[in-house]
Amino acid sequence: MEIIKADHLSKLFGPVKAVDDVSISVKEGEIFGFLGPNGAGKTTTIRMLTGVLTPDSGSAQICGIDIHTNPLEAKMNMGVIPENGTVYSDLTAEQNILWTAKFYGMDSISRKERADELLRHLGLTERRNDIVRTFSKGMRQRVSIACAIIHSPPVLFLDEPTGGLDVYSRRLVIDTVRIMNGKGSTVLITTHNIEEANELCTTISIINKGSIIATGSPEKLKKTFDTAKYVEIAFEQPVKKELFVHEGISRVETHGDKMRLYTDDPDKAVKYLAALAEQQQVKILSIATSNPTLEEAFVQLTAGA
């Protein structure tokens, strides 16, 4: 069953097409990753899906409930960590969590139990009675997570939940997402960390300039770009970039002291490079071929953004 469904969502901000005809469909139990460069339209899409922003056109459904015609019921089914949103800094960690829980009609015993459990799990037990204003960014984000999952929602929206967090907080967030998913929550997450997406998500959509340009499992996305392999080479002396303009080499990038040459045929490229070194009388320090990672797929897809 489709738990999150967006149909032709569009949003203009003045002349900026922030989101242009985006449709997505996330099935029950999935962890759906939303990847894209800065300004691609990820946050705008999530805001429309969570009822925080009214779309210019298109519709969105959460668990089959339309978010714009039936916002209360739709929102009962979701937990959200907004990108630009935080918990109340004048309340304590526990007050924030308990207050949020009341919105979902949880009784006082289950509110308390669940809050205790989450505070413990998120390492906040000792600071539970401190005003959030005194918290670090990572601790605030953990309170935010607790508020988002206090009611064990069927759907979780997380907009860059790990942005700016240290390794410990990041792991805690990722583990929590996994646990919630294991308990049946469907997750939509945006991140800039491609390895994180690769490791966590069952499906990934890549969005650029307001439009979705690719969707698939991480492995499938990587395979799509299997054709775009590269050769990485380091010479003893600098070599002019123009010399790499050659049939079969599609793109050249400098990576520190190495040159990275994208090609359909690494074998042929290596032979050409060997001949080139011979001809220019420069020594090759190292040479390696590699299959692209998800990061490569991402960079290629969103090139020129």
Binding site: R47, G51, L53, T54, L72, E73, G85, D90, L91, F103
Partner: protein, 249 residues
């Protein structure tokens, strides 16, 4: 049915949040009590005004200021602090946020005004003609001006000092055109038109009826006007906030 329950709950939760964060603060309460006292000293002392005659106007001004003082700032504060976005993603609608903001302002106004009325009655031997009407008046007035405060918070401004200015610009002049300093019965026709445009006029008139029994309009008339004004303020606040939801700010 289910929706109605969620809706009612969301209004209460927004009210609770507002009371805790924005009203239940020493500074807000002290200012709420001190401000009318200062106003009282400024306008009444040394002018040889009849205290009993002017007390209904004073109480109206009191309720007006206390119910509408903090409301204009809540949404701008929340937008600046970035808690607004999270609030919107909880099971709320714009209506529940608007009504929750109004409830909190009204509650604060009722509490402050009641304290002031009890204290003043104890000291000044004030008349009370109709206790039931007084209760209704306090409630109606509190909601009217809390709704005004919420309307003032609706334009998209995340800068609270802009809102403060707008709020003062709208609220301060009202006290001079509402029959507080000059009884309605003594106004010329030109002044009368101006006064009848101010909702505060009808609240002050109701207070006159409830306390001194010298109202100019029948109470039902004042009441109906205030109810219409409340609905109008809510509708405008909703319209403006809906537009903000489209513009994304």
């Amino acid at each position: 049915m289910m929706d109605l329950k969620i809706f009612a709950r969301s209004i209460l939760m927004v009210t609770e949040k507002n009371m805790r964060i924005y009203y239940y603060k020493g500074s807000v309460v002290i200012f709420g009590l001190l401000f009318p006292f200062i106003m009282f000293l400024t306008f009444f002392i040394g002018r040889n005004l009849d205290l009993v005659l002017f007390f209904p106007g004073f109480l109206g001004m009191m309720l007006f200021f206390s119910s509408s003082s903090t409301g204009p700032l809540i949404t701008p504060w929340e937008k600046r602090e970035k808690t607004y976005e999270r609030l919107l993603s909880l099971p709320v609608t714009l209506e529940s946020i608007i009504l929750g903001d109004i409830m909190a302002g009204a509650l604060f106004g009722v509490v402050i005004t009641t304290i002031v009325w009890i204290a003043s009655s104890a000291i000044l031997h004030l008349p009370l003609k109709n206790a039931g009407l007084l209760a209704v008046t306090v409630l109606l007035g509190a909601f009217t001006f809390a709704a005004m405060g919420t309307l003032l918070s609706s334009p998209a401004m995340s800068n609270p000092s802009n809102v403060m200015m707008l709020s003062s610009l709208v609220r301060l002049p009202l006290i001079f055109v509402s029959g507080i300093f000059i009884p309605l019965s003594q106004l010329g026709s030109w002044e009368w038109i101006l006064t009848s445009l101010s909702p505060l006029t009808y609240l002050v008139d109701l207070f006159h009826g409830a306390l001194n029994g010298d109202a100019v309009y029948p109470p039902w008339f004042d009441g109906v006007i205030l109810v219409i004004v409340i609905l109008l303020f809510i509708a405008c606040a909703k319209l403006i906030q809906q537009r903000n939801l489209v513009k994304g700010n």
